[in-house]
Every structure is written in structure tokens, then in C-alpha cells.
Amino acid sequence: MGWFNRKAPPQSAEAQARDRDWESALQRGTLPQPVLERLAHAREGRAPWVATMTPAELLTARSHGCRPIATVSGTCWYNFGFSWTLGHGEGWGYALDRIRQEAYAAGANAVVDVQMRTIRHRIGSSMDFTLIGTAIRVEGLPPSKDPVVATVPALQFVQLLEMGIVPTGIAVGASYDWLGGNSWNYNKRYGGAVTQWQTGIFAGNQPLHELGSFWENVRREAHASLREHAATMGSGVLAHTHFGQIIKKEQGDKQPPAYLGRHIVIGTVVDTPFGAAVPHGIEPVVDMRDDDTLSASRGHRHSVYSQQIGEGEGPI
């Protein structure tokens, strides 16, 4: 890039070597030597541990025999080729494999407080999928060859373990389909006409059954692929993220418009036997704090005087 900017600093020989290390490691599906060394040092206690935990979380983690080892991460910057929707499943899948590798190298039993992140950039049709969390060791247990990945903070992780629930990973279900237009399916390819007629200007109140059942199928397939993905890791999914979109695409004069339906659902996989006991007792309490009953910050119970009133409304 020297041609653009003469003052651009040249990449040092070490940086170039690191780049090459990363490149070959990502291709082989392993980690580069310096990273392995850093994690090995953390594992053996020769380097200070690094945790995303707050002091309160550290307190509960320690009182329950969990020791932080290192912050571990997994990133995959993914280019969407033929399908944006399915790319999400694969992108998170790679990131998950990579964070597991780092956790394994750190000799961990689990990664807790795993957060799903992305940088909102607009570089072509691509997105980065990043997972970051804290690798921990449970005292008295040998390192795991298949560390679990938990999206909950250390406090909840311990709470869940006591109740016989192990959060094991992240599952993604994604599906898309076309109604009319580009669909491979013959019936769907010539679909869309009913919907066009049902949404015309003289159409009355009515459910759109063609579009509706098409959309339902897209969603069901996404959920089926979520279950399939989760079945490799545990016995259930707590699906916290749902994303769905129907996009209309005009096809020209003679043809009805086509509809693209896409659905993504993401959840935390848990492994637990059916009907496991909950050992903790639950005691009803009434909190004497005032801040969540009368204020407008929660719900709309007393929201009359919220920000909705414009400044010019009522002169006195």
C-alpha cells in the first residue's frame, strides 16, 4: 500500500509471521503456536488469569469451586454467497468450534458468560460472528476434552449446575424459501398469485392463507433445524433470539410478485434429565423498594406523564 501513502508503516517481520501462523492455523482448523502457548501458561498458572466476570460473579464462582483460567474467543468473518440466512448457521458454527478449541487448549471444563457479538460494518455481503467468554476449571475435575459453552454468567452457571442442568452450547436454526419467483419447487414457483389477488385494493378483511402457510413452513423448518443442531449437544434449547422477515419482490408486469421468507432462531442448549428436582426452596418476598411500582420506567401502569407529551401541548 506504499503507493497510496508513503508514510504507511511497513509490517514488521514478527507481525508477518503471526499473520502466516493464523492463516495456516485457520486453514487447518487449529490454533497458532503463540496462542497455544499463552493458553498453556494460563492453564498452568504461570500467567495471570483473565476473566470477563464482575467481582460479584468471581465471588460466587470461587465459593462454588470454579476457577477462571483465561478469556477465550472464536471469530469467523463470513461472506454470504448463495444464502444470507443459512450463512448465519454456518458462521456461528465456526465461531463455536473455535472457542471450544481455545477452551480445550486452556484445559477448561467450561466457558461461561459467552456473549454473541458482531461489529456492525458494511463490508460487502458479509458479517463477523464472534463469541467471547471466560474459560473456567471446576476444582477436583480433570480438564475436559469437550468443554461446554454456556451463554450464562458464572453465577447462573453454578445455579444451573446445582439443579442438574448443564448449559452446553449454542444452537442455530435457519431457513428461507421463495413463494413464486426463484423457487425450485414447481408449485411455489407459480405461487404468489392468490396473495396478489387477496391484497388488491378491493380486497376486504381476510387472512392470507397462501402467504400464511408458506411463512409457517419457513418457520417450522427453522425450528426443525434448531432441534437437529441442538440434538448433537444436549436435551433442550432455550431459544432467546428470533428473527423473521418476509420480503416482497416485484417481478414485472405479467407475473405476480415473489415473496422471500427467512427465519433465524438461536438458543442456548442445555442438557438435563426429564423432571430433575429443584433443590432450592422458593420463598415469596415483597421488596420494599419503591422504584419499580409507581415509576413509569416499568410497564405503562402510570405512563400518562411520560415523555409522550409534546412541548407545545397546552399553553399553561
Binding site: N109, A110, V138, L141, P142, P143, S144, D146, P147, V148, V152, Q159, L161, E162, M163, G164, I165, V166, T168, Q198, T199, A203, G204, N205, Q206, P207, L208, G212, W215, E216, H223, R227, A230, A231, M233, G234, S235, G236, V237, L238, A239, H242, I247, K248, G267, D271, P273, F274, G275, A276, V278, H280, I282, E283, P284, V285, V286, D287, R289, D291
Partner: protein, 271 residues
């Protein structure tokens, strides 16, 4: 926190000894961790996410310029669309053998490319009683539906009630415009706009009545978590929808109110 033992199966999983594989029965749910624990504590297990949706095309209805009147076709449409979404959700629950659905959220979304098309979605988690108790089913042996969160579900059962069915009522109402003389006469005056007050009363009353009627049809003793939403779905400024929704409940037989522990008063010092 009392010292608790981590169960053996959990320890084995942490050692990486046990390989998983539950190709058969995998449950899905949108519970938070606390909701999951409380539903378990109440004696239930999640089986699967139940979703029902209805994409609906809204037509139009004219109303007289100066009349306070319910737009019955629109009321019916708004109700029918939600009822279809809920019924489809309940069908999914029946198919997976659930005793009921908790945490139902009913949402309305306008599609970006057509202002007359609304998407109604009902989503909740289907649950079964862990010991196969059949007494929690809703009306006609169908799964019950409820808008209660996992926390509210546990608390409702502790209060000696069980959820039956989500009940709702909708009323789309046209609020009359005021004539020129009425407008003139109120210039500079602090006065009540009587016909506007009346319209809101009327519309709210109709929506609540319809919800109550549904509850009595379901054989309920009462309705908890009742809420009234006022909304305009891209209609003209004088058209509003009142939508009442709540969970119809029935007492659990043999539950005494003496069984309910007195809540302890606490004051958290860390918030």
C-alpha cells in the same frame, strides 16, 4: 447460599466423559434460566416452542364524519386474526402432547411493503406435568393457554389457581369529529369534550365486556393479568382499537388459602 451438591450427571458432562446425543426428544423453549427453574419447581417440564401466526389483510370501513360508532368489521377482523394465530399455536401444543402453554406473547407487526397487511404472531412454551397429572388441561381437554411468565405461573399455582385460557376482546371505534359550532363554542374555554370521553368509555367497555364473556364461556372464576391496549394500526386519527387481554383462571380443588405462605418483607440494599 447453602452448600449444594452438583449432581453426578452434570459432573460427568463437565469432565467431558459423557457424549450427548438426544436425537429423539429435544425440547425447545424461550424461557429465561429463572423461568425454566420455576416452571420445574411447579412440577412441569417444557416440551416445545408453540408458534401460531396469521398474516391478515385489513380492508376498510367507512364511518360517518360525525358519528361515534364501532367499526364492527374491523373489530371482527382484528379479533379473528388474533384468534387464528392463537388457535394455530394451540394446535401445535396439542400435536406435541402439551398440557398447556405459558409465557404467550401476542404481537402485531405491520409488513414493510404493504400498510394493509398485519402479521399476528402468538408464541409461547408448551409444557407438560412431569408426573403426567391430567388435571391441568384447559377447556374441552385442550392445552391451556396463558400469558403468564414462568415466575407468574409458579406464583399463580401457589395462590391456588390454575390457568384455563387466554381471553380477549377487541373493539375498533370511530370517534366522532366535532362540528364547527361545537368547536367554536369551546374556544378559550376549559371544558370537557363530552363526546370524546363518551367514545373512549364506550369502546373500552365493549372490549372488556367481550373479554369477560369469553372468560365465562370458558367456565372461569376470574381473569388475571388483564390489560387494556389502545392502538391505531395505521388508521385515520379518529379510529382507535381497544384490545383487552388476560388469562382466565379456575381454583385448584382442595387448595386452602391457609396453605399460602405469608410473603416476607425485604429491602434489598444493593440496588
Amino acid at each position: 447460599m447453602a452448600e449444594q451438591q452438583i449432581p453426578q450427571h452434570a459432573l460427568e458432562r463437565l469432565k467431558g466423559l459423557r457424549t450427548q446425543g438426544h436425537a429423539g426428544g429435544i425440547f425447545t423453549s424461550d424461557f429465561s434460566v429463572n423461568e425454566f427453574l420455576l416452571v420445574r419447581k411447579a412440577g412441569f417440564e417444557p416440551v416445545g416452542l408453540c408458534v401460531g401466526s396469521c398474516i391478515y389483510h385489513l380492508g376498510f370501513q367507512f364511518a360517518g364524519w360525525g358519528s361515534n360508532v364501532e367499526l364492527e368489521q374491523l373489530s371482527l377482523a382484528m379479533y379473528e386474526a388474533r384468534a387464528l394465530a392463537m388457535e394455530r399455536m394451540r394446535l401445535e401444543a396439542t400435536n406435541m402432547g402439551a398440557d398447556g402453554i405459558v409465557g404467550v406473547r401476542l404481537t402485531v407487526k405491520r409488513l414493510e411493503w404493504d400498510k394493509n397487511i398485519l402479521e399476528f404472531v402468538a408464541i409461547g412454551t408448551g409444557i407438560v406435568h412431569a408426573k403426567g397429572h391430567q388435571g391441568f388441561k384447559g377447556p374441552n381437554g385442550q392445552p391451556f393457554t396463558s400469558a403468564l411468565s414462568g415466575q407468574d405461573f409458579w406464583t399463580l399455582l401457589s395462590a391456588g389457581y390454575r390457568p384455563l385460557e387466554m381471553v380477549m376482546g377487541s373493539c375498533v371505534y370511530h370517534v366522532a369529529r366535532r362540528g364547527p359550532f361545537a368547536t367554536m363554542s369551546s374556544i378559550g374555554q376549559n371544558v370537557e369534550l363530552g363526546n370524546f370521553s363518551l367514545a373512549l368509555y364506550e369502546a373500552r367497555e365493549i372490549a372488556m365486556e367481550r373479554m369477560q364473556l369469553e372468560a365465562s364461556k370458558a367456565g372461569a372464576e376470574g381473569v388475571v393479568g388483564a390489560d387494556l391496549h389502545e392502538g391505531s394500526h395505521n388508521w385515520s386519527t379518529h379510529v382507535i382499537e381497544f384490545f383487552a387481554i388476560g388469562t382466565a383462571v379456575l381454583p385448584i380443588e382442595g387448595h386452602q388459602s391457609d396453605d399460602i405462605p405469608d410473603p416476607k418483607l425485604v429491602l434489598s440494599v444493593n440496588s
